[in-house]
């Protein structure tokens, strides 16, 4: 078999933001969706969306505002989204309703808004992106799968930029069965939006390096919360490297402007 040396993909994080949202913040964004294009969105736009879709819209909006990109064209960009345990609340609600009411109780909104590609599709629609869009995994470690996918897409050059959207909860969020009390505060919903573009050696700023070796156990196992913490550190994003079990590894690299070297 081919002895090819596995490539390490380096890409630039041209914009980024992370949000950690409590239920009341999500409810507010659901009522008044963040205006990704600068124009108000219909108040019903996110009405049937999963919480992680809502949080991701807010994260993308924050990234756009920080970068001064409101109104920017993303026509030839793509979007991939890896939400953890996506659609769980919707499934819990739907299946209970099905048992009570039969087929007629199943909402038609389940398919468009609870499907795994709903997050990427929503962002793609809002930013009018005509590049690829799809969802990733949907399980407890969904974000892990995103990195070898994102790296490969950028390496091929099929898009001029790629929104990498990661979401979940700070700890597993378990729905409550109808009629039962919940005594556990709802964990915060986390969403990270990374705008990735191809990198050149002359660039400075924030970068991702992505590799395929699945055995780099010397690195810490990736968690979304760790990435949120690295991106939102008080003095600016901090470097880190993580193993994504079964899917490879990635590194957050910061290159300082003045020295052109890593700090």
């Amino acid at each position: 078999m081919s002895p090819a040396t596995p490539a390490v993909i380096r890409c630039r994080i041209a914009a980024h933001a992370a949000v950690r949202a409590a239920p009341d913040a999500l409810a507010q964004w659901r009522r008044q969706p963040p205006p990704l294009t600068g124009q108000p969105l219909p108040t019903s736009f996110l009405r049937h969306s999963d919480d992680q879709t809502v949080a991701t819209v807010a994260a993308v909006h924050a990234a756009l505002v920080r970068q001064g990109w409101i109104g920017h064209s993303f026509a030839d960009w793509g979007a991939i989204a890896a939400p953890n345990f996506f659609g769980r609340n919707g499934t819990a609600h739907s299946v209970q309703r099905y048992v009570k009411e039969g087929a007629w109780g199943v909402s038609p909104h389940v398919i468009p808004h609870q499907s795994l590609h709903a997050v990427s599709g929503t962002i793609s629609q809002l930013l009018k992106m005509h590049g690829p869009n799809f969802g990733i995994s949907g399980g407890p470690t969904a974000c892990n799968d995103a990195f070898p996918i994102a790296g490969a897409m950028l390496a091929e050059g099929i898009v001029s930029g790629l929104w990498l959207l990661l979401s979940g909860h700070e700890r597993e969020w378990v729905p409550v069965e109808n009629g039962q009390a919940c005594d556990d505060p709802t964990p915060l919903c986390e969403a990270v939006a990374l705008a990735l573009t191809p990198a050149s050696e002359a660039d400075d700023g924030l970068f991702l390096r992505i590799g395929s070796d699945v055995d780099r156990t010397e690195l810490s196992a990736f968690t979304l919360s760790a990435l949120v913490a690295a991106l939102t550190a008080a003095d600016g994003p901090t470097e880190g490297a993580w193993n994504v079990p079964g899917a490879g590894w990635f590194e957050l690299e910061v290159v300082a402007q003045t020295a052109g070297s890593r700090r």
Binding site: V99, P112, H117, T122, D145, V174, S212, V214
Partner: protein
């Protein structure tokens, strides 16, 4: 990235029409329908009561396991198809010596699991699940694979995305061999109910075998199917070195998004046209070299017409020289697994030099003016096939396969 040719050297399938490549080929070329009244659960109160369900998935003897049939149906499908593909490629015994990756198109692993569990009296959806290993990681461990393993979904377009990603990983040198494809055992009460209440499904309950009728004036919606297909992909150099049997080259991949609406099909064909042109350009194929198009055509009134317009634009004046069929007329619409199983249909066309038909095409819609393959197989030389898969929510993909 290099443009090294990537070949398909193994195929594994599980469908309503059979659980082997040979069985599926025989049924498709015989023009048989896999659509019946659904008997997996009670459907009396569903608007659509028909589908192409997989009756059962055999346990691969290579991983003989008494607990196989207690696994979820999608896991059974995935393991069966993966093992069969690796065996078909002659790589089962050698898999531990290679970096074998896995890219699986799958949309509803967790939601289907929670739904099935709840309806059987369980409460998993209301209990901690963080400790449960995802399907692809379980498969990676169980099949002793050492490359990266991921799952992804773009609705109906998933299988084409999986093949494209596997090709990229091979060209990056991230894997020596890659399993890629998609599985979806989606005929469940919630999925059937949700699509039914969206009015997307055929309600021709009294004529199951006649219900999926792409391009026909009498079409009234799609019919759900289920199953999956996994392929072994490797570089042409690798395949030649070990004298592997080659099914086809993954010659071209194209993808785009409508960015219009999560439910309503876009009235603007440009993104779908762009996906097709991107795939043809990637394959370095002119439209007049295409010998067969496996259309996405799901048997919906709007979608089939929209695709006919897209094909008309891409092929221009030669549109009536390019045979087009929709094998969804026989398999139903396998949702996330549709593109993967339709890639098998294209491979069948290349291998057998015969084009599977669109069955139930009694009265072609005049708005779908194409060179149809109506009702029976046509023998025809073909070296290049195109397979369109346009996902619900506006994800457009196109796959070009070429005889190697």
């Amino acid at each position: 990235m290099n443009r090294e040719p990537i070949y398909i050297t193994g195929v594994g399938v599980a469908t309503a029409l059979g659980n082997t490549y040979a069985a599926l080929a025989e049924q498709l070329l015989a023009g048989r329908s896999g659509v019946k009244r659904i008997d997996l659960f009670r459907v009396d109160d569903h608007p659509s009561q028909i589908g192409a369900a997989v009756p059962s998935v055999p346990c691969p003897e290579e991983i003989a396991d008494a607990g196989f049939h207690r696994l979820s149906r999608v896991e059974q499908c995935m393991l069966w198809s993966s093992v069969r593909a690796l065996c078909d490629a002659g790589l089962w015994e050698r898999r531990c010596d290679l970096r074998v990756g896995l890219v699986l198109g799958n949309a509803a692993e967790w939601n289907s699991y929670w739904e099935t569990d709840y309806l059987e009296g369980g409460r998993q959806v209301f209990q901690a699940q963080q400790h449960i290993e995802p399907l692809v990681q379980r498969a990676r461990r169980r099949l002793a694979l050492t490359g990266p393993a991921v799952s992804m979904s773009a609705a109906c377009a998933s299988g084409n995305y999986a093949l494209a990603l596997a090709r990229r990983w091979l060209r990056l040198g991230w894997v020596d061999v890659c399993l890629a494809g998609a599985c979806d055992m989606a005929i469940t009460p919630l999925t059937l109910g949700s699509f039914g209440n969206l009015r997307a499904l055929s309600r021709r309950n009294d004529d199951p075998a006649g219900a999926s009728r792409p391009f026909d004036v009498g079409r009234d919606g799609f019919v759900m199917g289920e199953g999956g297909a996994l392929f072994v992909l490797e570089s042409a150099a690798s395949a030649r070195r070990r004298s592997a049997r080659v099914y086809a080259e993954v010659a071209g991949c194209g993808a785009s998004s409508d960015a219009y609406n999560m439910v309503i099909p876009s009235p603007h064909p440009e993104p779908a046209i762009a996906a097709m042109r991107q795939a043809l350009d990637d394959a370095r194929v002119n439209p007049d070299e295409v010998g067969y198009v496996n259309a996405h055509a799901t048997s919906t009134p709007v979608g089939d017409q929209a695709e006919a317009r897209v094909l008309g634009t891409v092929f221009g004046s030669s549109i009536l020289q390019v045979p087009v069929s929709s094998t969804k007329s026989m398999t139903g619409h396998l949702l996330t697994a549709a593109a993967a199983v339709e890639a098998v249909a294209c491979i069948i066309a290349l291998q057998e030099q015969a084009l599977p038909p669109t069955i139930n095409l009694d009265h072609p819609d005049p708005e779908c003016r194409l060179l149809h393959v109506p009702n029976s197989t046509q023998e025809r030389p073909v070296r290049v096939t195109v397979s369109n898969s346009f996902g619900f929510g506006g994800s457009n993909t196109c796959l070009v396969l070429r005889a190697a």
